[in-house]
């Protein structure tokens, strides 16, 4: 028979257990031996985590958990030797020598310099979709100089080589992929076998989940984060998922975020919040091939004078962004300059003066007409990732100086179609796009926009060609000296701000909120990782448990 005291103790214990049990999220995966499981958002079926079939930035970072590169950046932005034990650039800048660590593939086979040479040849001898963002430049002679040493011989110096080849190209196993003729048609477990810190444990497209488990035999040490789970959240609202306890970290929307949305995370010690300037950019492209006003510098300058970019940042983002620079690069980019870069402050009087000077007469209705008497009217296309409010502000601003605009919403794929054709008047594009780079990435991004012969037309300033800009873009790529390169990039910014083939409207800040008790080493990589990905998902802190270096936390 249970006495009263025992009964009360038992009841008290049961109640305590109930309270504790209810306080813990039942879905919260256990932390084992101090090594956490981290739950982040799933990106749906963005390809598979394999070097030749991943899709865009989110696909790349998932793939990077399974496949390592020769170098990789930490929170300082410096490229650390990763698969490489060391690397060296020759004095003439044409030869990069790489020594490899003693590494084994997940199946136990050794990773050798032949795998490196094979991977480069495999990438450059095939045609991949533009969504495979880490394909290295062609024209490099990769020579095996020993079992664990390899040389990359360039045709000309390349300032992006370290980040965009050594730090981006995932090394694939020759003994697997040499037997696969078309890597884009194979989806079995062979193509997920890499040298990375994690292995793919599960993937359920219907449930929108996938999980990655650490490899305890990883060559840098046992990864700090034991397991990474990717979970779909309704409406891709990561911050709501974090609040609800479904995720352990969540990013603000790329199109920008207002303070009201961030307030619950700023005021709560349970959460940490980090930010990075200029994660995303919104440029207004003029189709100069259309001729007429769009090819008229005064018209384009008038447009930028008519738009109050600072007001946009305050109005739409409550200050969580920066007004666009006419020189394209944001102030947070190390290569940004304002020296000699023409500014276009908000000034409707100046806009009206430029339009009057260009012969665009204003009628009694307030609308203007072209010099030939036809209406000064354009269609503005905007992809669905561009906030409608932004487009409406542009329409309102241009309407105030007599430029009539109608809006046309289209999906992102069609935007690129219109850009390439080119078949549009005006487009507000969101950047980064398939190139997968952010505004803070390497300044060679200017090539994609302003060079007359860019790698693709999707980001090209349509109809713009300036031989001096071409020369400067080519020259900066071949310049390793950072100060010298900054001078060249500054000149590019000065010229394109004067020519104004594109009007950068604003850049949005990125924010990432996270649950401190689970994992608190998040950071935005300066200059981005891989080709310049501006997301928070650099694998370095998961693996090491630290923000700096390759040494794994105990």
């Amino acid at each position: 028979m249970m006495d009263r005291r025992t009964f009360l103790k038992a009841m008290g214990g049961a109640a305590g257990a109930l309270v504790l049990g209810s306080a813990c999220n039942p879905g919260r995966p256990a932390t084992v031996g101090g090594r956490p499981t981290v739950r982040v958002k799933s990106w749906g079926d963005l390809g598979s985590p394999s070097p030749f079939i991943y899709v865009a930035g989110p696909g790349y970072w998932r793939m990077s958990l399974l496949f390592d590169t020769l170098t990789w950046p930490d929170s300082t932005g410096e490229q650390l030797p990763w698969l490489a034990s060391s690397y060296h650039r020759s004095d003439d800048g044409l030869v990069w020598s790489v020594q490899l660590r003693d590494v084994k593939w997940a199946d136990g086979m050794p990773l050798t310099s032949r795998d490196v040479a094979f991977t480069y040849d495999y990438y450059t001898s095939r045609i991949f979709t533009p969504l495979l963002t880490g394909v290295p430049r062609k024209g490099i002679d990769v020579r095996v100089t020993g079992d664990r040493s390899v040389e990359f011989r360039l045709q000309s110096p390349d300032a992006t080589f370290l980040q965009q080849t050594l730090g981006t190209m995932p090394i694939a196993p020759e003994h697997v992929f040499s037997k696969i003729a078309d890597p884009q048609a194979v989806f079995d477990k062979r193509v997920f076998m890499g040298s990375g810190a994690y292995r793919l444990a599960s993937k359920d497209v219907n449930a929108d989940t996938e999980s990655y488990v650490a490899r305890d035999d990883y060559y840098l040490g046992r990864p700090y984060v034991r397991r990474i789970e990717m979970v779909g959240v309704p409406n891709d609202d990561e911050l709501a998922g974090l609040r609800a306890g479904v995720l352990d970290g969540g990013a603000s929307a790329a199109e920008g975020v207002r303070n009201e949305v961030l307030a619950p995370f700023r005021d709560n010690p349970e959460f940490g919040l980090i930010s990075a300037p200029a994660g995303f950019a919104f440029p207004l492209f003029f189709n100069m091939t259309r001729g007429g006003a769009l090819a008229d510098l005064r018209f384009r300058q008038a447009c930028l004078h008519a738009i109050d970019r600072n007001d946009m940042v305050g109005r739409l983002l409550t200050g969580n962004g920066e007004a666009g620079s006419p020189g394209w690069l944001p102030p947070s980019n190390p290569y940004y300059t304002s020296d000699g870069v023409r500014e276009y402050p908000f000034d409707r009087t100046e806009a009206a003066r430029l339009l009057d000077e260009g012969g665009y007469r204003r009628l009694g209705s307030g609308d203007r007409v072209n010099p030939d008497g036809s209406p000064l009217h354009f269609r503005l296309h905007l992809p669905d990732v561009v906030p409608l409010a932004l487009a409406e502000l542009v329409v309102d601003s241009l309407g105030a100086v007599g430029i009539s605009i109608d809006l046309q919403r289209i999906d992102l794929v069609h935007v690129y179609g219109l850009k390439v054709a080119p078949n549009y008047d005006l487009i507000i594009q969101s950047y980064p796009g398939p190139a997968g780079i952010g505004p803070n990435a390497d300044p060679d991004q200017l090539r994609a926009v302003f060079h007359s012969n860019p790698p693709s037309q999707t980001h090209k300033a349509t109809g713009y060609s300036n031989p001096e800009v071409d020369r400067l873009i080519d020259a900066q790529l071949a310049t390793y000296d950072i100060d010298e390169r900054k001078k060249l990039v500054a000149q590019i910014q000065q010229i394109v701000a004067q020519d104004l083939p594109v009007a950068m409207l604003y850049y949005t800040d990125f924010f990432y909120a996270f649950r401190r008790s689970v994992f608190d080493q998040w950071y935005y990589t300066p200059g981005g990782f891989s080709t310049g990905l501006s997301d928070v998902y650099n694998k370095q802190p998961y693996i090491t448990g630290r923000k700096v270096g390759v040494q794994v936390r105990d």
Binding site: V257, V261, R315, L316, L382, L388, A389, G399, D406, R409
Partner: protein
């Protein structure tokens, strides 16, 4: 109710305090004297967009109904008057369209065509005409067998004369009742497509504004939903309910099935 919606749409330029896209305040302002329903995410007056949105609703309702009327009347009249193989072929076509799963197909086509108001009208018109065609055909068959049509033909009246002089006036009330239903359906389908992001989000329409409000990250904070979401939902309900009431009132009087 419907008259109020029509009057609002027609008189929008005079009733609305501002142009629908004019940025007249700061984003997310609460209701005030300057903005009776506050402002949206861009700083545009919500009341003005509500009023101008009724015009879009009217355009969709009228255009889609006109399209349905044109196709339904043509198919129904030709099938009813010609009979035989023409009637059989046309009615099988009607059966096929009636048998299609309308909503998934609407979404599928709207996705393919892309978001625009014109596409919405076309898509709606494409699927709503068979019911009208059936009603018109059955009435035409009934009227054809009556004496006055035969007499008119006997005196040399051509097909077009018979249609204009005898069939259309006789069909008028039935068509009117049917069209009111179609208009209500068109309004709800347009709003539904817009809400799913398949309408023209750049248009100032009730459905598009509903979608915009729902996808705003701030809609669940404070009472923003009260002056942004609710008015558009109520307006839609008002318009669709108005159409339904008129249809319900007219149908027993003019639809021959009710008389049986």
């Amino acid at each position: 109710m419907l008259a109020l919606v029509v009057a609002t749409g027609v008189l929008a330029p005079w009733l609305a305090p501002y142009r629908p896209r004019a940025i007249t305040g700061l984003p997310y302002e609460s209701p005030s004297g300057a903005h009776l329903l506050g402002t949206n995410d861009a700083g545009a007056d919500i009341l003005s967009r509500l009023i101008w949105g009724s015009r879009t609703t009217l355009v969709v309702a009228v255009s889609a109904t006109a399209l349905v009327l044109a196709v339904g009347l043509a198919v129904g009249l030709v099938a009813g008057l010609r009979g035989g193989i023409v009637d059989a072929v046309m009615m099988r076509l009607v059966d096929v369209v009636l048998g299609l799963p309308v909503l998934p197909l609407l979404i599928f086509i709207a996705t393919l065509v892309g978001p625009s108001l014109r596409a919405s009208v076309l898509v709606i018109g494409l699927f709503l005409w068979p019911q009208t065609a059936r009603v018109v055909r059955s009435q035409t068959l009934s009227l054809r067998s009556r004496g006055f049509v035969g007499i008119a033909r006997g005196f040399g009246g051509g097909t077009l004369y018979v249609i204009r002089r005898h069939l259309v006036p006789a069909l008028g009330p039935v068509i009117a009742a049917n069209m009111v239903f179609v208009a209500g359906l068109a309004v709800s389908i347009e709003a539904g497509l817009s809400f799913l992001g398949l309408g023209d989000p750049a248009a100032v329409s009730w459905g598009a504004e509903l979608q915009r409000a729902v996808t705003s990250p701030l809609i669940q904070t404070g009472s923003l939903w009260l002056w942004w979401l609710v008015p558009f939902g109520l307006a839609l309900t008002f318009a669709i309910f108005g159409c339904s009431l008129i249809g319900v009132a007219l149908e027993p009087r003019f639809n021959p099935r009710w008389r049986r």
